[in-house]
């Protein structure tokens, strides 16, 4: 698995570029409701963080703020990767139109957008990288399938192929394991571990606490404001979780 990722990414210097995110007193008010309050801290460059918390805790909102899609009502975000377009954001799958006429290969190839741009066609060498990425997520037999014909798990794999090619310094993943079969979760976790190894900064919203304990060194427990933030085992204590549930 690691070998694949190195082949596809082909630009290991990405890890060296500073790609931490600093947040200072983030506050978000949506429709008169305080969704996020006083988020202050730092996602270190190269860290692998799980964001956990009850429903309505503001997890997706925080990702939107980090990605720069949502301007916070107060506070500051410093995210150098954003200015250089080296930030990738995989939104929840409900954001996407499954009937859109597009093949798995085309979806994956979008990951090369930054290098190929709006007008050039896909060079042959890059086509090989697309094929490699699709194979790395286990969809090599589905390269020409329409995304509308994929299962939820296959669809997620296709998006991960795009992430592989994007090779972004910072990756934001909103519930990447939701409604996905166990084998796919295993594959995706392997890819995420690979990115972590290479020094990419990965921040994922995750619901399964066992997955967090097993695979994520850092965790941010969110309930409108951060209940705890740091090493995963120190964050996911019974007391903290109870407090989060009570706050939300």
């Amino acid at each position: 698995m690691r070998g694949w990722i190195n082949n596809i990414a082909g630009r290991p210097q990405s890890a060296a570029a500073p790609s931490g995110i600093d947040v200072q007193g983030i506050r978000v008010r949506l429709g008169g409701r305080l969704v996020l309050d006083d988020i202050t801290g730092r996602f270190e460059s190269g860290s692998l963080t799980a964001i956990v918390g009850p429903n309505g805790a503001g997890k997706s909102t925080l990702l939107n703020v980090l990605a720069g899609l949502l301007r916070p009502s107060g506070g500051r975000v410093a995210c150098p990767a954003r200015a250089t377009h080296r930030l990738a954001y995989l939104q929840q799958q409900t954001e996407f139109d499954r009937d859109f006429p597009m093949t798995v290969g085309e979806l994956a190839a979008l990951g090369l957008w930054r290098t190929i741009g709006t007008y050039r066609s896909l060079p042959r060498a890059e086509a090989d990288r697309v094929a490699a990425a699709v194979e790395a997520v286990g969809l090599q037999d589905a390269m020409r399938r329409r995304i509308g014909d994929l299962s939820v798990g296959q669809m997620r794999r296709a998006f991960f192929a795009r992430l592989l090619l994007q090779d972004a310094a910072v990756m934001l993943l909103d519930e990447p394991f939701a409604a996905v079969d166990a084998r796919t979760v295993e594959t995706l976790l392997g890819l995420i571990a690979g990115w972590h190894q290479q020094g990419h900064t990965v921040i994922a919203v995750v619901h399964d606490l066992a997955q967090v304990r097993a695979h994520f060194p850092e965790a941010l427990l969110l309930a409108r404001r951060p209940i705890a933030w740091g090493a995963a085992e120190a964050v996911l204590t019974g007391a903290n979780l109870a407090q989060a549930a009570a706050t939300a």
Binding site: A67, G68, L69, R82, H85, L87, A88, Y89, Q91, E95, F96, D97, R98, D99, F100, P101, M102, L110, W113, R114, T118, Y119, R146, G148, D149, L150, S151, V152, G153, Q154, A179, V180, D181
Partner: protein, 286 residues
């Protein structure tokens, strides 16, 4: 009395200049509106498109009040009020509030009709509501042709970005692509403004939406979808004009009705074909 094929299909255009101009205008409109309609459907913005077509009305009416049946005044007014509504409703950005949009189009329609009725006649009202395909003059034709050319060129050059933006605008934005949504809305508004001349407020969205909807029944590949949409748009224009000539029907509605018939036939035929041939659907893995 029997008509020869020549009398039926060619003679109306040979004999009357206004029929030739109308045909040229409709064909030009179909060429650019149909692929734009495919993009509109893929973006799931059919409702926004409809609202935008009504938003052209009050501005065009003001243009009419100001300068009578002046093409320039009505076009500029229509374009301006469309752009205003698109900006106000946030259509050019992201948010969608269905109820708010519907309120907008009802008010726009009422305001436009009131203005035209107050300062003009009943026939003026009919004209802005249903258009006057057969009254298109050389200036209007030139305007339609210009908009059509600009649209086709823009879609050809920016095709990939516009498709990606339709599927995943956040991805494009984070990759450094800005302004594509605005470009799309601008092209749509231009097409609706000239379509308004021919089809009127109520039917202006017709040549945009119907061919695209028909094509979507038959294929799921974007290139062929656009080609088929253009083809059906051309056929519907031609057949609709003939129908309106031979049966003495209003031409805009005739064209839209022919397209509507094609859509109905496409729905029935594709549903029948799908029933005959069971296809694999998503979800065999999980």
């Amino acid at each position: 009395m029997t008509l020869s094929l020549y009398d039926l299909l060619v003679a109306p255009f040979e004999g009357f200049a206004f029929m030739r101009v109308a045909l040229a205008a409709c064909l030009a409109l179909a060429l650019s509106s149909a692929p734009l309609g495919v993009l509109l459907l893929l973006r799931r913005m059919a409702l926004d498109g409809n609202v935008l077509s009504f938003a052209v009305m009050p501005g065009a009416a003001l243009g009419f009040v100001y300068a009578g049946h002046s093409l320039a005044a009505m076009s500029i007014g229509g374009f301006a009020s469309g752009a205003g509504v698109a900006t106000l409703t946030g259509m050019a950005r992201r948010g969608r509030q269905d109820a708010g949009l519907v309120v907008f189009y009802l008010v726009a329609l009422a305001l436009g009709v009131t203005l035209v009725a107050y300062f003009g006649s009943n026939s003026d009202v009919l004209r802005v509501l249903f258009g006057t395909v057969l009254a298109i003059d050389a200036t209007a034709l030139l305007q339609i042709a210009t908009v059509s050319s600009i649209t086709l060129l823009a879609i050809a050059v920016f095709y990939r970005a516009m498709m990606v933006e339709a599927f995943d605008p956040v991805f494009l934005r984070l990759s450094g692509g800005h302004g594509w949504r605005v470009l799309f809305m601008l092209l749509l508004l231009l097409n609706l403004t000239v379509s308004f001349q021919a089809f009127g407020t109520l039917l202006a969205i017709g040549p945009v939406l119907l061919p695209a909807a028909i094509a979507r029944c038959w294929t799921n590949r974007p290139g062929p979808m656009m080609a088929l949409a253009v083809l059906t748009g051309l056929v519907a224009s031609y057949a609709g004009l003939l129908l309106s000539y031979h049966r003495n029907l209003p031409s805009g509605p005739a064209i839209v009705m022919v397209a509507g018939l094609l859509y109905g036939a496409s729905l029935l035929l594709t549903a029948g074909l799908a029933a005959l041939k069971p296809t694999r659907r998503r979800g065999e893995e999980t």
